[in-house]
């Protein structure tokens, strides 16, 4: 085998890691190294240290420990049947890269994933060793996200959770059938069991003992997962149904949707398509509505016939256009629940409206200053000095919000 330099390895193993969407570094315990004995801090909110031209942020050093893999998942660049260049970092190399990048303020921490080599347990124990070295030898107090190998032994997951801020296990595809088809070696029920295990350990870490002592926190930034969108035939209702189940069952912090994107040396089993970026975007919007706006799944997915979200307008607007009888709302009287349903109003806007209207009547200009997106919202509300009159019932209302037609481009 060719001996790679560190630079070449980094090129291969970061190229192999880019299909993982998650780069969050937020929501963990606050800590710092003001004592001068360690390196790094965590402030609660994440920091994006750079952005690449694909619009994604770089918060963590996102690399694979190795891209050798014994699995053959069709959508994955690292599957065993692919002919990409292979490389493997040593434990020391990953630790050194993380610490040196961190000292130069390039990153918030490490997101370590890996292809499965030898066995799931062997791979996972190497990953845990990297985290252990960072935490114990280097006194690293930055963020660590470990991608858990679903089949790895529970003891390894237990140690990983104590060292890392976040654990994640990818469900990969929206349905069990699709996983069986495209990732034949992965078992959906094992993935679910592993996620349940992480949740139970996290719950147990929250309970105080009789002496009032808290056990060490397990994966304080929670667990997340990723689903590939557009590789199989599932519609958005299926995708969102799966994610609501995951949120409620395993208390996930996030479900990431990753538009299936062409990979070098792709498998013949999957069509090479332009990644459905708009669909991915709409799914994230719908995910937010489900989690923070009190929408129910069927409210969002019943708007269209085929169970897919409207690509031209956002899901909240799509819902509002179908339920025009509920509008216009008077911003000075409407309940919080209803205000959250106004297109163009976010959670912050609604909170500000509620705080201000305790003292006085809100006018149209106030809403602009509060930060509402009035281009959308004005049709659906009345405020001091503003009424949409017949606008809400006009036949071409939808056309006002859809983007102008665009010429198609070739992939």
């Amino acid at each position: 085998m060719v001996k790679h330099t560190l630079d070449q390895k980094l090129a291969i193993l970061s190229d192999a890691a880019k299909y993982d969407a998650s780069c969050a570094s937020s929501g963990s315990t606050r800590r710092h190294s003001r004592d001068g004995k360690g390196l790094g801090s965590n402030e609660g909110s994440g920091i994006c240290h750079a952005y690449t031209p694909d619009g994604r942020c770089i918060s963590l050093l996102k690399i694979l420990m190795t891209n050798f893999c014994i699995y053959d998942c069709s959508y994955c660049i690292n599957r065993v049947s692919s002919n990409v260049a292979r490389a493997r970092f040593t434990v020391e190399e990953v630790v050194r890269l993380t610490v040196e990048f961190y000292r130069r303020n390039y990153i918030e921490g490490l997101f370590l994933s890996s292809g499965v080599i030898r066995s799931p347990d062997a791979t996972m124990s190497d990953m845990v060793q990297i985290a252990r070295k960072l935490r114990h030898d280097e006194n690293f107090r930055g963020y660590i996200h470990l991608k858990t190998i679903p089949d790895a032994a529970p003891e390894l997951i237990a140690e990983a959770g104590l060292l890392a801020d976040r654990l994640s296990i990818n469900v990969e595809l929206p349905t069990d059938a699709a996983v069986q088809q495209y990732a034949p070696e992965k078992k959906p029920e094992q993935i679910r069991k592993a996620m349940a295990d992480v949740r139970l350990r996290k719950d147990a870490g929250r309970d105080k003992s009789f002496s009032g002592k808290r056990p060490p926190r397990f994966a304080p930034a929670g667990q997340s997962t990723q689903m590939i969108i557009g590789a199989d035939g599932s519609n958005d209702a299926t995708v969102l149904g799966q994610s609501t189940r995951l949120y409620s069952s395993y208390k996930l912090k996030r479900v990431y949707y990753s538009a299936f994107s062409p990979i070098p040396d792709s498998s013949s089993k999957l069509p090479l398509i332009r990644p459905p970026l708009q669909r991915e975007h709409r799914l994230y919007q719908a995910d937010w509505l489900l989690r923070f706006y009190d929408f129910q799944l069927d409210e969002i997915t019943s708007v269209t016939q085929d169970g897919n979200l409207d690509l031209e307008i956002d899901p909240k607007l799509a819902w509002a256009l179908v339920h025009r009888e509920m509008f216009p709302l008077d911003v000075n009287r409407a309940s919080r629940e209803m205000l959250l349903r106004v297109p163009g109003f976010g959670v912050k806007t609604v909170n500000r409206i509620l705080a201000t209207r305790r003292y006085r009547t809100l006018r149209y200009e106030d809403l602009l200053r509060i930060g509402a997106s009035m281009k959308k919202a004005r049709v659906f509300i009345t405020a001091g000095g503003w009424s949409p009159r017949g606008l809400i019932d006009s036949a071409d209302l939808r056309a006002r919000f859809t983007p102008p037609p665009e010429q198609l481009v070739l992939l």
Binding site: D7, L10, D54, R192
Partner: protein
């Protein structure tokens, strides 16, 4: 006319001190000229002594706001803050009026400073410049912030990098951290920092983590505006990455699928040797139950929960279905209902570990509502599909008595789940001819909200359990 000159280092406390002085002396905003380090003192002003007229207090939220806004680059910032403070003195509610013009302007300035601080935390790039005489590694960065954010943001770098020496040099105020002490200096010229080997690796990473198939240049620029690019080593690679992206994406699409490498079968052979702790039970019946796909419930539940207990148990206890906790950990009756059962069973001398405990339906049925799973009662077809497993368990255990708890278990065992409240306490015969004692489901005891009714239902359940104990002895 009064004059207040705020220094560039320590502006927050200086402004606060002056504002407090003016406000307590009742000086209106139009009587004060606020100047910063950039403006020279006005010749026609007088520095008069002010007599304080008592304490002033303002909402804490204003203090927080002011401590951020003072770092804005707007020359009017001190005056704007004081003018608003003057209004706030008579009307403390003003702080929660998000529609107020002055406040919304200040909030916007606060946002500008916050964003600038955030971008400074993100985009400062250190280069290693050697080792200090005390043996600490030294790093330096050149940065050009939009607002005066070095002083309020420096503590972030102290919290993060206190085991090394560092300096962040800017045209206005520079922060220097040496041997654990932070100090500020007036501006610097752009220094010539030495090359850093780490930078090349960083650029390699930046180039390779980029996915050319999903170009979104606008999204990048809105978060990383071009004004920062000059001091970020990786930004030099961006134009080249954008230009090459379409061709790279196209070549991926056009490349014909290749044949798998020769080592594939050899590598995959390793898989068969891997034993996983998650593989589940090995005995035939539990293994078959956990692989069950007879009804759609298996798609949403985590796992099938088979029965547990000694194989020679005289008593078999059948519940409805696994709940939230049981579904996660894979054992029957560990959740709240299981605890109620245990509590009452121990009162009547029934030891659960002597009995075989199982459910009529092996998968958890629920609807997802936000962060919670709401239990749903299984329908007859689901109970029917699962009856095969329950019958197989009964065959294997061959108990003297079966305790059917709740409607679903009773339906599965006797064919009808109706009128549980009137049938409870009675012994009926199961389809396979074994005696079935019918009782309430312990989760029903948890649901009863009326205290009197709850006591009564507990008593009934206790009565049924002691009947079961009596039946067996």
């Amino acid at each position: 006319m009064h004059h207040a000159n705020i220094p560039s280092i320590g502006a927050a406390s200086a402004w606060r001190k002056d504002a407090r002085r003016f406000l307590s002396a009742g000086v209106p905003p139009d009587q004060i000229l606020w100047g910063d380090y950039a403006s020279s003192p006005d010749l026609f002003t007088t520095q008069t002594k002010l007599a304080p007229r008592g304490q002033v207090s303002v909402p804490q939220s204003f203090v927080t706001l002011a401590q951020t806004v003072v770092w804005h680059s707007d020359p009017e910032r001190f005056a704007r803050l004081y003018a608003f403070l003057w209004r706030l003195k008579d009307d403390p509610h003003l702080m929660s009026d998000r529609g107020d013009t002055d406040l919304s302007r200040l909030r916007q300035m606060e946002r500008n400073v916050r964003r600038c601080q955030h971008k400074m935390k993100a985009f400062v790039r250190f280069r290693e410049i050697g080792t200090s005489h005390t043996g600490r590694r030294s790093f330096a960065a050149w940065f050009e912030p939009t607002h005066n954010t070095v002083e309020p943001t420096a503590d972030f770098f102290v919290r993060r990098f206190s085991d090394m020496d560092w300096r962040i040099l800017t045209p206005d105020v520079s922060a220097i951290f040496e041997n654990g002490t932070l100090s500020f200096q007036e501006g610097h010229l752009k220094p010539d920092l030495p090359e850093d080997a780490g930078e090349q690796l960083w650029i390699t990473y930046f180039r390779n983590i980029f996915n050319p198939a999903r170009l979104k240049v606008k999204a990048m620029q809105s978060e990383m505006p071009k004004k920062y690019w000059e001091n970020m080593p990786e930004a030099a690679a961006i134009p080249d990455m954008i230009a090459g992206a379409p061709a790279r994406a196209r070549s991926m699409a056009e490349a014909a699928p290749t044949l798998p490498p020769a080592r594939m079968s050899q590598v995959q052979a390793q898989l068969s040797n891997c034993n996983s702790a998650w593989d589940g039970p090995r005995e035939a019946l539990p293994a078959a139950i956990s692989a069950c796909t007879r009804c759609p419930l298996h798609r949403t539940a985590t796992q099938a929960v088979a029965g547990e207990g000694p194989s020679n148990a005289a008593l078999m206890i059948v519940g409805e279905q696994p709940g939230d906790d049981e579904d996660l950990c894979g054992h029957p009756f560990v959740g709240p209902a299981g605890k109620v059962f245990d509590a009452i069973a121990s009162e009547v001398g029934l030891n659960r570990s002597d009995a075989y405990v199982t459910n009529a339906v092996k998968h958890f049925k629920f609807t997802a509502r936000g962060r919670r799973r709401i239990h749903q009662r299984p329908v007859s077809s689901e109970i029917d599909h699962c009856r095969g497993w329950l019958d197989a368990e009964i065959d294997q255990i061959n108990p003297k008595l079966i305790l059917a708890m709740g409607a679903s278990a009773t339906e599965s065992l006797t064919g009808s789940g109706k009128d549980i409240l009137s049938r409870r306490g009675g012994v009926e015969t199961s389809r396979s001819g074994l005696p079935v004692l019918i009782t309430l489901h312990p989760s029903y005891l948890l649901r009863v909200s009326d205290p009197k009714a709850r006591l009564r239902s507990h008593a009934l359940f206790r009565e049924d359990l002691s009947k079961a104990v009596g039946f067996l002895t």
